[in-house]
Amino acid sequence: MKKTNWLLLVLALVLSMFLAACSGGSDDTSNSTDDADSEETTETEDTSGEEGEASGEQVLNITDSAEIPTMDASLATDAVAFQWLGSTTDGLYRLGENAQPEPGIAKDHEVSEDGLTWTFNLREDAVWSNGDPVTANDFVYAWQRAVNPDTGSEYGPYMMGGVIKNAQAVVDGDVPVEELGVTADGDYTLVVELEKPVPYFESLTTFGTFLPLNQAFVEEHGDQYALEADTLLSNGPFVLTEWNHGEGWTLEKNQDYWDAENVQLETINVKVVKETSTAVNLYDTGEIDRTGLSAEFVDQYRTSDEFKVEEEPVLFYLKMNQENEVLGNVNARKAIQMVIDRQSMVDVILNNGSIPSVGHVPQNFTKHPETEEDFRELNGDLIETNVEQAKELWATAKEELGMDTVELGYLGGDSEVAMNMDAYIKDQLEQLEGLTVNVQSVPFKERLQRDENMEYDIQNSGWGPDYIDPNTFLNMFVTDGGNNKTGYSSEEYDGLIEKANTELAQEPVERFETFLEAEKILIQDDAVLAPLYQRAVAQLWKPYVKGVITQPMGPDYTYKYAYIEGK
């Protein structure tokens, strides 16, 4: 059987060359047929743009790292759940190419002058997989359910509180759930009232917690809703047809999807595989079309055409507890920022394409609304590695504090990679004279608890965005912010964040520039954090898989436009 697989693979490769030559398109696998190809490519590019031709069986075989925790949009909290909710359900908008929202159930929307009322016009041809039409009430019901304390949703209050009118009051039980600022005006108009103008609200509506739910269906199934493939509904590109808990699941194209003509994949088979080496072996034998690579595999595959690095907008950094006497000193914090060689850290320890982080907003995440320049590029490197200067700053700090030797605790993770990295950082930090760093490697939950109680000196921590806006990173460090926990409090900084979210909420350019300024204060002036790196993942993708879009938030991948070409 394996032999035939091999033969098939070879055949497929040979075939793919022909097909690639025939269909043209913008792929680079067929460099052996240069002459004939290049001519055709230019021709086809004019007519069909980037769209390639799907050919052969439209089946994608992939793995996921864990069982789907839940398919209930109100209860979902993690990447796996959001991935498969996003593949089976359309919200008002969905994230398309370059993380731009594109129409989902909403055709378009109007925003009132004061930015507080958003009116979404819904398409009338969208249906659930049981035949019911998707209506404005499905959104009203879903959002009310998400903030209803009886639901026990974690992300409902988190994503909607302070954003949608009365959301927090509903969560606190002060007003009935019907008072939530979302109403249906007829079947196909959804009116959303906001607590304050929220410039990034459009991108929020693509997020899993904001997906619609079919009220009749959910209530009919009660506790059993979304526990099995047959107790959930889809209105998106794919339907979950089979779900073998812990083992894998199957998605099939939704023939009734309003945009079905643009969906080419017929089937997505997903298997749960936790071990990277296992996934690599399955990839090598052709069982699956994609695998992640851990550091030890990267060198082996780096030169392969199938090797791809995907940058993620997830940042890692050292939090410094300013209630600690030493870390309350800004020069000491700056010394810590400066003494770490980030480049060697990402090259040697992570070795997966991660890049050194030099601020608190990732690169390729948000762009200036007018000039389209990247946030990171505009603000540049807010920190640099300079051991000499770091030592001077450290000496000044010690003098100011009247200390000769300093001992600091360091809270890190307990995975192998985390422990290696923390050992490296300890070594780097101890270049500062008289500093002893005591690393403690603890499980994730333990670290969270100590963070919560501020029982740490230095902590290796990370953050991923909840929506596409600098605010998701920068508002963490306002005074007493729920995720601040560093003791940092700056009136100037608070003022800037506050201003960006109130009076400048409708002035995109000035707002963006305010965030630029705030980041400089946070990292450069006040040295609240010592940025470490921006995460990337190294992967192998079979060359015949085309059109998969990688997303910075919500579902990691959009498979709606994916297709198989010349397998």
Partner: protein, 308 residues
């Protein structure tokens, strides 16, 4: 005999109760909450959710509620798999683990006993050294090393068997072999030691003197007596294997319960931790009872002693 069994069953219930209690309170020492988005939510937001699951109650109250539900056979719902019942999750996951563990035990015991027998019969011969060497190897090399090698050579290089996943019987072969290594080693070592001891005892010498041939002595008189210590070890080992092993399940992507258990502990999924612990405890106690009864079947002297 019946009275003995009933007595044992009562002890069993008491033991289970103690285990449940101990586990419950130990579990409460785990840091953090079961919330999966605890890193993002504020204290107030967390409190609302914890309230819903009754986790804001004082621990003794939680304990009381849990025990009342447990007495009615209700293990509760999982936190990490929202609303899914613990019983359902365990039932889904225990199947593959039991199958692998069972297959590994059968293979392990048979091969191990044969190796041990061969060693004993050809004591200090080349066969003995070879099988002892294999047994030591099997016991000292961790199973994931075997698993990794098997996967790479049999699965990837030669393509004889599936690399991983769980889609049919042929998918169970490699994980079964990887799991069987340990029982093989254990069974072989015990068998060898016991057989050597038994073979040197007076009644064997008598049997040989009466003219019974070597093979007859080994199988009819030796084996039976050597079995007693063996089943003492193999019983609990079987429970251990059948309730899943994290490493083998991860390497071969088997949807078993071992991996589930470890994850539940990391995620503070209290109901799953309790459910799985109780299941494993029950199986252990049960198998020990079975072994005690088996002693009587194998060795009449034990039956007599107990009959008083």
């Amino acid at each position: 005999m019946t009275r003995y069994i009933i007595q044992r069953l009562i002890y069993m219930v008491i033991t289970m109760f103690l285990i449940a209690t101990l586990t419950f309170f130990l579990m409460k020492f785990l840091p953090g909450t079961p919330l999966s988005a605890a890193d993002k939510l504020s204290d107030e937001q967390q409190a609302v959710v914890l309230e819903k699951y009754g986790l804001n109650d004082p621990v003794p109250v939680q304990y009381f509620n849990y025990m009342v539900n447990l007495a009615q056979g209700d293990l509760g719902i999982s936190f990490q798999f929202d609303n899914r019942e613990v019983t359902t999750i365990i039932m889904e996951r225990i199947g593959p683990s039991v199958q692998l563990g069972f297959q590994a035990m059968i293979i392990g015991t048979i091969i191990g006993m044969l190796l041990g027998l061969v060693s004993a019969i050809y004591h200090n011969g080349i066969m003995d050294y070879t099988s002892t060497f294999l047994a030591v190897l099997g016991q000292s090399i961790p199973s994931f090393v075997f698993a990794g090698l098997l996967q790479f050579y049999i699965g990837v290089k030669f393509g004889w068997l599936p690399v991983a996943l769980w889609e049919g019987w042929e998918y169970t072969i490699l994980p079964t072999i990887s799991l069987a290594i340990f029982p093989i080693a254990i069974a072989a070592r015990f068998m060898r030691t016991e057989m050597l001891e038994v073979m040197g005892s007076d009644y064997i010498v008598t049997a040989r003197a009466k003219g019974v041939n070597k093979v007859g002595v080994v199988f009819k008189h030796g084996l039976r007596n050597a079995l007693i210590p063996l089943i003492t070890v193999l019983g609990p080992l079987a429970v251990g294997l059948m309730t899943g092993t994290l490493v083998i399940e991860n390497i071969f992507a088997v949807p078993g319960i071992g991996e589930q258990f470890v994850k539940a502990i990391n995620m503070n999924d209290f109901p799953i931790i309790m459910g799985t612990t109780l299941l494993i405890a029950f199986l252990f106690i049960f198998i020990i009872l079975v072994i005690d009864l088996l002693y009587g079947v194998i060795d009449p002297r034990i039956r007599l002693a107990e009959g008083e």
